[in-house]
């Protein structure tokens, strides 16, 4: 049985006095345990909406979404989320942010402290435990958000353009860190992005979405073997994938700009 199933998902928005805008139309996708799947598409193709539906933040209108066989009815700690704007709690320190989810899990205080420290170490924020988010750089903030999400030990990880707000250099560093985390603790991940290279570099499979209405055009399996470092981006195979996916996305991206 697949871990995540999207079955004939349809979603529309109604604005006052206008016809319904169809954001997602007949989306079908299955994700297996341990897979890293990217949702790739231009802005407005409904890829974030799809993620929010799986997260349980937006109520499902039609179709089925199954998480390990059970329909999604609301948010839950089995699906950890990382957002583009980090969504940290700015009034809490790094330590308190990471502890937030754990406080709701009935751990002893000592177990909690140890686990928080373990995740602070994992995202290399030792020395910043008592800083507030406003005192951190964008990359550091997103590392806190990732640690906060992973600390509650979710079954799957949902990432909504997590590196979209970062500068190019920081983004590359974050790619390596994310891959390192995935090597240590493999986890099913759904990763929303509009960056073709990022999708190819990180994913096992890439679902290309088209816009208006949003639907899955094609699912491409990325067969590059284990990612050993950024050198892989120089390989011919990598660039073939990028070129192919770009050609698939391009028509829609141009359409979205008009």
């Amino acid at each position: 049985m697949s871990q995540i199933v999207f079955d004939a998902v349809r979603h529309g928005y109604r604005t006052k006095g206008r016809a319904e805008m169809v954001a997602l139309s007949d989306v079908n996708l299955t994700v297996e345990q341990g897979e890293f799947v990217s949702l790739l598409g231009p802005s407005g193709c409904g890829k974030s909406t799809l993620l929010y539906l799986l997260g349980g933040f937006v109520p499902l209108q039609s179709g089925r979404i199954l998480m390990e066989g059970k329909p999604v009815t609301g948010p839950g700690p089995d699906r950890g989320v990382v957002f583009q704007n980090f969504a940290l709690f700015p009034w809490k320190t790094v330590r308190q942010n990471i502890a937030y989810g754990l406080e709701r899990q009935g751990l002893t205080a000592q177990a909690r402290t140890e686990r928080v420290q373990q995740f602070i170490d994992m995202v290399q924020l030792r020395g910043f435990e008592d800083s507030f988010p406003s005192q951190l750089s964008g990359g550091m903030r997103q590392r806190v958000a990732i640690a906060r999400t992973l600390a509650v030990d979710p079954r799957v990880l949902l990432m909504d353009e997590p590196f979209g707000a970062l500068d190019a250099q920081t983004r590359e560093i974050m790619h390596e860190e994310l891959l390192a985390i995935m090597r240590r603790t493999p986890m099913t991940t759904i990763f929303v992005t509009h960056d073709v290279r990022e999708a190819v570099y990180l994913s096992d499979r890439v679902a290309v979405m088209s816009s208006r209405p949003g639907r899955i055009k094609e699912v491409v399996t990325i067969d590059l073997g284990p990612r050993t470092g950024p050198d892989i981006m120089k390989s011919a195979k990598f660039n073939e994938y990028v070129e192919y996916l770009w050609s698939q996305v391009k028509t829609d991206a141009v359409k979205a700009m008009q």
Partner: protein
């Protein structure tokens, strides 16, 4: 040396005013009735402090202002958040708030006096009514502006719907809430003094008006100085509290 200069710059003109005041009463032609000397005003403050009259009336004033302000803060925050989250509440209160905000609420004081008599209750009511509007507006716009993703993150980290209010919404709106409270605080003080004058209370306002009726200028001046100092301390306290609670806020660093 540099510290001495900056101290002088920060207070010099205040001392100059005091000196002018002294010289005017010492060598000027103004009567003690129109402008009592600093010495007699100070003596008056000392006497009334020693007799216990001044501390009693100051405490009474602070109690009225404090209770009215606290009611405005609690009710205003609750209403503002409720307006942001419950459509029906928003529908009902939005026109009342936008209509009531710019009105001089003090005009309703005679109405409360009619309903509640010249009591502490009517004073506290008019203070709360005057001070609540900026709090409601601040809490409402704060709660409206809470990031959806913050609420979603908290939910997916295991927070209950009920928990969101205390764990996310309330801390997230504190910066805006404090801006509202800092607008409401002087309103509460101004209103308290007027309400005390009109109800003949034993608070500072009532005592001042009484002193004026008996042509007791030293008394009037003494209590002006007392309320000015008390106001300063209350404002400082509020700023301290803000700085403490909003340590995490980027605007707080300066």
């Amino acid at each position: 040396m540099a510290r001495l200069i900056s101290f002088f710059e920060a207070t010099g003109s205040l001392f100059a005013i005091l000196l002018l005041w002294y010289l005017a009463t010492r060598y000027g032609t103004l009567s003690e009735f129109l402008l009592p000397s600093p010495a007699s005003v100070l003596a008056r403050i000392a006497d009334d402090t020693a007799s216990g009259d001044l501390p009693t009336s100051l405490l009474l004033t602070l109690r009225t202002a404090g209770l009215g302000f606290a009611i405005a803060a609690l009710a205003g925050t609750t209403l503002g958040i409720a307006m942001a989250r419950i459509r029906l509440v928003h529908w009902f209160f939005d026109p009342l708030i936008s209509l009531g905000f710019p009105m001089p609420k003090i005009a309703f004081l005679p109405v409360f006096l009619l309903w509640l008599g010249p009591t502490a209750a009517s004073q506290i009511t008019i203070v709360a009514v005057s001070a609540i509007f900026p709090v409601v507006v601040a809490a409402f716009s704060g709660a409206e502006g809470v990031e959806k993703t913050q609420l979603w993150s908290a939910r997916s980290l295991g927070a209950s719907r009920h928990g969101l209010l205390w764990q996310i919404v309330l801390p997230a709106i504190t910066p805006q809430l404090f801006t509202g409270l800092q607008i409401a605080l002087p309103v509460a003080l101004v209103t308290t003094i007027v309400a005390e004058m009109l109800t003949g209370s034993d608070g500072i306002g009532g005592i001042m008006l009484g002193a004026m009726r008996f042509a007791d200028s030293a008394g009037v001046f003494a209590y002006i100085i007392v309320i000015a100092i008390a106001g300063t301390l209350v404002f400082r306290g509020m700023e301290r509290l803000r700085a403490r609670l909003l340590r995490w806020h980027p605007e707080q660093s300066h």
